[in-house]
């Protein structure tokens, strides 16, 4: 059991205990992530510095980069050095242009976060009504249509959908720009025009996945005894649906929304490439092509840490929303 401080109130509070356990778990996983990210460079067959330099190789450049990246030090020293620096926010410098990785990542983060946010909002706007409708009309034609459509959505490659959307709305109808990005706070209207197509691409795929989860979450709740009781005591169907069914399905819905948001943050690589969206995904793509290992390491670490953070927030919301966790 995890003990958090000496205060008996804190230790006996189940929410605090639950969250402390989840926090500890996240820290353990984060350390594991750090080990994997550190190992990335060291399992490269051959010399990563030599590979990264490519045609720019000269003995002087090689020595300079090797010493700047700390790769001339013993492995164990490098490991603890990397751990220490990473925990203080220093992720080294890019092999390609010498820029600090942390600064580059922070510059790219807003573009990815804004795209992920628009994507998840679009996904929820579609998946919530579709999933609930489908579950409440189980076995009818409308349910079948929603199920088939969502199964299609899950099977469509996001980059293909992006290209088709560009072909229709940008190249043919000229309603929206084909690609590019405007910062939200500098040019809100420009940002909106540029974010619609990539946001739709991300959102439609996520909506397909979420519709399936929401449908089964609602179906599971609808089969519970208390819903039957509510119905048998003569409550109007609308009240049973809203107060008993949908409300209790909120917890699994919250989970899948969190998971999807985390997935989008780490999975928009291809969509960002299609729409020339200057986010983390395109940064990783360019870094992989240039074998810029510190940037790859930093981006992978940041995305994995965001994933853990979102999961932790979902767990915290869980404890707030679900009295069973609060009272257990």
């Amino acid at each position: 059991m995890t003990r958090l401080g000496r205060s008996p109130v804190l230790v006996t509070n189940p929410v605090v205990r639950f969250l402390a356990r989840r926090l500890l778990y996240s820290i353990v996983v984060l350390i594991g992530v750090l080990v994997v990210v550190f190992a990335l460079v060291h399992v490269v067959p051959g010399d990563p510095v030599r590979i990264a330099l490519g045609t720019r190789y000269t003995p002087q450049a090689y020595d300079a980069l090797r010493s700047a990246s700390g790769m001339d030090r013993p492995l164990i020293e490098q490991f603890f050095g990397y751990m220490g620096s990473a925990l203080t926010g220093d992720l080294g410098v890019s092999f390609r242009n010498g820029d600090p990785v942390t600064v580059t990542l922070l510059e790219r983060l807003p573009a990815t976060v804004s795209l992920a946010f628009v994507g998840i909002v679009i996904a929820l706007l579609i998946a919530l009504p579709a999933g609930i409708w489908s579950a409440l009309h189980e076995g009818r034609a409308s349910d079948a249509i929603v199920r088939v459509t969502s199964q299609f959505g899950v099977s469509i490659p996001d980059f293909w959908m992006g290209i088709l959307l560009i072909a229709l709305f940008a190249s043919t109808l000229h309603w929206l720009p084909t690609s590019g990005y405007r910062p939200l706070f500098d040019d809100p209207a420009g940002w909106l025009r540029h974010v619609i197509l990539p946001g739709l691409t991300v959102g439609l795929v996520a909506a397909a996945i979420m519709t399936r989860y929401i449908r089964s979450a609602v179906l599971e709740v609808a089969a519970m005894g208390y819903v039957r009781t509510a119905r048998s005591k003569g409550l109007p169907p609308r009240v049973v649906t809203m107060r008993h069914t949908v409300r209790n399905a909120a917890i699994p819905v919250l989970t899948i929304t969190g998971i999807q948001l985390a997935t989008i943050l780490g999975g928009v690589i291809v969509v960002e490439v299609v729409f020339a969206w200057p986010g983390l995904g395109r940064l990783v793509y360019n870094a992989v092509a240039a074998r810029d290992y510190p940037v790859i390491q930093g981006a992978v670490l940041l995305i994995a840490a965001l994933f853990l953070l979102i999961n932790l927030i979902v767990d915290a919301l869980y404890a707030v929303v679900d009295p069973r966790i609060r009272l257990s």
Binding site: V35, V43, P157, I163, S171, G267, I296
Partner: protein, 301 residues
Amino acid sequence: MTTCTPADTTTAEEQTRLSAVRLLAGNPVTVVSAIVLAVLVVVAITAQWIAPFGVNDIDVPNALRPPGGEHWFGTDELGRDIFSRVLVAIQASLRVAVVSVAFAVVVGVTIGLIASYRGGWLDTVVMRVVDVMFAFPVLLLALAVVAILGPGVTTTILAIGSVYTPIFARVARASTLSVRVEPFVQVSRTMGTGHLYMLGRHILPNIAGPLIVQTSLSLAFAILSEAALSFLGLGIQPPQPSLGRMIFDSQGFVTLAWWMAVFPGAAIVVTVLAFNLLGDGLRDVLDPKQRTMIEARRRSG
């Protein structure tokens, strides 16, 4: 004297299997997706022979021809026949998906089985490693593997295989944990059955259901991952055609020649959809909880 009728000789196990087949055959969606997959597999195996043109036969005077005539799916910017290229690309795509998922099944199931069967510290360590792997988004992890090993088919297989290994480890572990406490396993253990025999004869056959379902769904995602990696230029390398790269190449011609993007994309959607639907159908039959629900519903209907 009693006579032995065929019904008497049918064991409970055989009856379960028979009813599983009957349930599968009774679901038209599952049957259709299985047929589509069978056709795709035949196409993939015979692609080289049935393709009307060579995949790299350049014919510039006939470039960007719309579908019709001798070019069923039209031609690309170099006059190459898109139908032939799609057929051969399906073969490459399925090969990568099957080999990488097979890798994930073998490695993942072995890890999951041993971890949950032995329990203790081994289980804890293995599962924490699996948790760490789950913190990385699939494509990002695959990209990291490509960054280490360089682009190519073998790397793509390794990347996708290693990404799906933890999923199979987790499914195998969870299923083993529930089977391990069953009375028949306990009885077998008290009779002194060896570990290998126990795993092979009692545990593995009883956790096969969820693993088969996961295999079908993973094949769908593996095809999507391969297409994404190839789209980014990090998967299957030219001159070998791949569906992802064909879509990438179509970007400059999307208003001039819609067929360059539509047919390779449709091939991906059909394949992935078939695997997904088959996986869903299999889950309905092989997952005991779902199965009871379906049978109850059919009886009441």
